[in-house]
Amino acid sequence: MWRIPKLGWTLSLLAALASPALAADTIKIGAPQPLTGADAPFGDKFRKAYAMAVEEINAAGGVHGRKLEVVIEDHMAKNALAATVAEKLITQARVLVLTGGRASGQAMEIASVAQRLKTPYLVDHPSADMITAKGFEWVFRNNPTGSIYPAAFDDFIAHYPGAMPKSAAVVYDNTLFGKTIAAAIKKHLAARHVPVVADEAYPVNTLDFKPIMTKVKGAKPDYLLLVAVSTTDAILLTRHAKEIGIAPRAFVGFGGGFGVADMATQLGPLAQNVFSSAAWSGNPNDPKVKAFYQKFHARYGIWPHEHEVEGYSGIYIIADALRRAHLTGNLQADREAIRQALASTDMTTVFGKVKFGSWTGPAGDHYTNQNVYSPEHSVLAQWRDGQLLNVWPKTYAETSLVFPEPLAEK
């Protein structure tokens, strides 16, 4: 009768003895990502980027002689599930640090859980300003926030000769991202005394933009500024605006939709010279960044964009902090050590320079642990014969820019 409980005790004792030894094998990084559902393709991009970074670091000897391991959990792009898996990674998988998140709603939940359970969280892609504007000392962000996205556009109108708009029309989707960017654009325009002659919001996946564009045409804008997270919206916005005969000096697209290859394949000549203030994915003129693009392409057969560059760089930032942290094996003490190490980060990744600090963003948000170099991580690109090439600022330019639009009304 007594044997069974005794055996049980012995086994659990053995397990208790074995588990620290096992944990010493790898250093675990937790990453909630969408692996199923509509956002699954994005989760897959991050999975590839993490895998490549981890393999490289481990091949070079790992960190403190231990190998890195990224534990990815599926949150299906649902906020409640993101909180669930973040909690699971922290308490069950006992990860030392979190990254990932993909969309802002889920990242908000992960940040909130990370803050409460005192686990460092490095945000690599989600862009809602609020994530680093709530005073969370456990949350760090490498990528720029939504309101920083139009920084290159603002720089362009201020510094390119003759580019200052006489007026502008702003058309944006009513998502968090769309509204944040539109608000930042309007703030920049107001600061430069540019009148906004049309201000139109639309729901995502609108099928017909002609009513909106008819209204915009009547306002005769000098610049047409379009915000779209969805690719179909970006394509239809451009198509309907051009078909209806709006001919401003510049078409400027903001948001993921304008940076996708479908823009060129579906619009053909209509995409020519359309500006895209797309997400930052490293300085293409930097040989190290070029080498990374090549290596990634050789391995996966796809060219990396912002997601892959962000995910890959995030792992390197974490590895750098881990190297500088004194790890003891005590989970809570190690997490605190990593938090402090992250706070003193000062390095360059393929994404760019990174140093976390507290500062005030363009929309007035008070950031904590937001990359202080974020305003430099903004670029204006232009569609040229089916290719999207960086044109502004000059240091990141891949070609010279075409402005004003040759077809513009004189």
């Binding site: 409640a80 308490t91 069950q92 809602a128 968090l176 919001a201």
Partner: protein
């Protein structure tokens, strides 16, 4: 009377024992989710199971509750535990005009109307920025301190949330049991079986349905308040999504329509099955989830609880017959 109360007492004791027996905070978290879904499934079941009115818009009631609770707390400093019932009341209030309008429609038309209402509520939440904060939503960074029985409540632990969720689920199930016994419950079943006949015998069908919807909305809204209290972040996608409405339907259908215990069984099954397959098949788990749903609908159309109850009564009858022979 004691025989009726016994299972409730046993259930309450079992629920009370969980925090003492389960150590892992993650396991308690899963229990909290199951209890929240039980309350939501029960809310949907009141209207869908008993009155046969299939709503695809219950997320809007949940969302109204969640927003009410979080706005009351962040804007007016009303603690979430008071905000939860206030969220329920707000959802019930919103449901009144919706019910009066939509219940003029029947069958699929009613279902479509609820779908439209839920999209409408989501659009309002997205665009009425001065109140709802638009797509940004609201985040609670710290919960107010609370002292109970001389001890400060630790909001970082799971136990207080577990207790609230358990009370909520029990109250929702008790409301179902009471409704079934009440005159209104009989009205609803009459409406479900034949609305014309119910009207012919003098039942004010619109009034009965509106009352039930308000009760259902109160439960869903309170659960929404709990969501805001526990998850601390509310945005339109999270609390007003169509998938939320669908999950309530699934839980009620899988558990057993028009039964008291059904929503609990449905919530337990769907949460644990979902969690288990997600663990084993990181990228293909929705296929298994879908397969499970199809199997249940094909082979257990009366739901797990409904089937189990029928089997149990069947066995009892056989035992009685054998005893007689």
């Amino acid at each position: 009377m004691t025989r009726q109360l016994a299972p409730w007492l046993a259930g309450a004791l079992l629920l009370a024992a969980v925090p003492a027996l389960v150590e892992s905070p993650f396991a308690i978290h899963v229990c909290i989710l199951v209890l929240m879904w039980t309350a939501l499934g029960a809310a949907w079941n009141l209207l869908g199971g008993f009155a046969g009115q299939v709503s695809f818009g219950h997320a809007s009631l949940f969302g109204v509750g969640a927003y009410t609770t979080i706005i009351l707390y962040l804007r007016a400093g009303v603690a979430p535990w008071w905000g939860m019932p206030a969220g329920g009341l707000a959802a019930a209030l919103v449901s009144l005009p919706v019910g009066l309008l939509c219940f003029r429609l029947r069958g699929p038309y009613f279902s479509l109307a609820t779908l439209a209402v839920s999209e409408l509520v989501k659009l309002v939440a997205l665009n009425w920025e001065s109140v709802t904060n638009g797509p940004v939503g609201y985040l609670i960074t710290a919960l107010p301190p609370l002292r109970l029985f001389g001890h400060a409540v630790d909001w970082e632990s799971k136990t207080p949330f577990y207790v609230v969720a358990a009370a909520l689920a029990l109250a929702a199930l008790a409301a179902t049991a009471l409704l079934r016994r009440a005159r209104l419950g009989a009205y609803l079943v009459a409406i479900r079986e034949d609305e014309e006949a119910a009207e012919a015998v003098g039942i004010d069908t619109v009034r009965a349905k509106v009352l039930t919807l308000a009760l259902s909305a109160f439960v869903a809204g309170t659960a929404g308040g709990f969501y805001a209290f526990y998850f601390r972040y509310v945005d339109p996608d999270a609390v007003l999504g169509l998938s939320l409405s669908m999950e309530m339907v699934f839980i009620a259908v899988v558990g057993g329509l028009g039964t008291v215990g059904g929503p609990l069984v449905g919530a337990v099954f769907l949460t644990t099955v979902g969690e288990a397959v997600r663990e084993r098949f990181p990228s293909g788990h929705l296929v298994f989830y879908g397969l499970f749903m199809m199997l249940v609908i094909r082979f257990l159309p009366e739901g797990i609880w409904g089937r189990a109850r029928r089997l149990a009564t069947g066995l009892q009858e056989r035992a009685l017959r054998h005893g007689a022979a």
